[in-house]
């Protein structure tokens, strides 16, 4: 079963616009991670945010975490066509695995 659930399932924007994706999860976590996947190939790690952190930045990426609401958001600013991909959130789980959501498919139109 999925632990994280991304919202929306699909997002289409113009180049230069900002893209916001949300993730909700069900149980307490130690950390939450965001990954990107291009065309069904390997996942690329973007950001890890720990449960005692509220916000983290990396280049054009901004991640927030609200443990009281069990939710996180990923903001991509000034999007580019190359940002077109599926984005997944993943939370740690009790048996050393990570639980992924079903992902948000982002399309950035040139």
């Amino acid at each position: 079963s999925q632990q994280g659930e991304e919202d929306p399932q699909a997002l289409s924007i113009q180049e230069g616009e900002n893209a916001t994706m949300n993730c909700s999860y069900k149980t307490s976590i130690n950390n939450l991670q965001w990954y990107r996947q291009n065309s069904g190939r390997g996942l690329v790690h973007l950001i890890l945010i720990r449960s005692n952190e509220r916000e983290k930045h990396s280049g054009r990426l901004r991640v927030t975490l609200d443990t009281s609401k069990k939710s996180s958001s990923l903001l991509i600013t000034a999007s580019r066509a190359a940002d077109t991909a599926s984005y997944f959130c993943a939370t740690d789980w009790y048996n050393n695995d990570m639980r992924f959501g079903a992902g948000t498919r982002l399309t950035v139109k040139p």
Partner: protein, 111 residues
């Protein structure tokens, strides 16, 4: 440095057959995890190995097994293949928990 390498990249098998997928982690990474990703879904955890010992197992049948070798490379074995085993199989390595590096995956098609 090479990233996580998986082989083969693509594979077609017949129902009932057995398959072995291979993964070489990043040098220095002692933890290897395996995930199954069915089209349109997120990755599902299968196994994690650390220092050659199984550290975690997901909700997969006993037809799925894995092992880790002294050089930290790993194999995932699937017996008695079913059509539903068709998926992208991903291997990930890490130094410790968090911040996994994934390989490009093995696309398995069962016909």
């Amino acid at each position: 440095d090479a990233g996580v390498t998986q082989s083969p990249t693509h594979l077609i098998k017949t129902r009932g057959q057995h398959v072995t997928l291979r993964c070489s982690p990043i040098s220095g990474h002692k933890s290897v995890s395996w995930y199954q990703q069915v089209l349109g879904q997120g990755p599902q955890f299968i196994f994690q190995y650390y220092e050659k010992e199984e550290r975690g197992r997901g909700n997969f049948p006993d037809r799925f097994s894995a092992r880790q070798f002294p050089n930290y490379s790993s194999e995932l074995n699937v017996n008695a293949l079913l059509l539903g085993d068709s998926a992208l199989y991903l291997c990930a390595s890490s130094v410790s928990r968090g911040g996994y590096t994934f390989g490009s995956g093995t696309r398995l098609t069962v016909v």
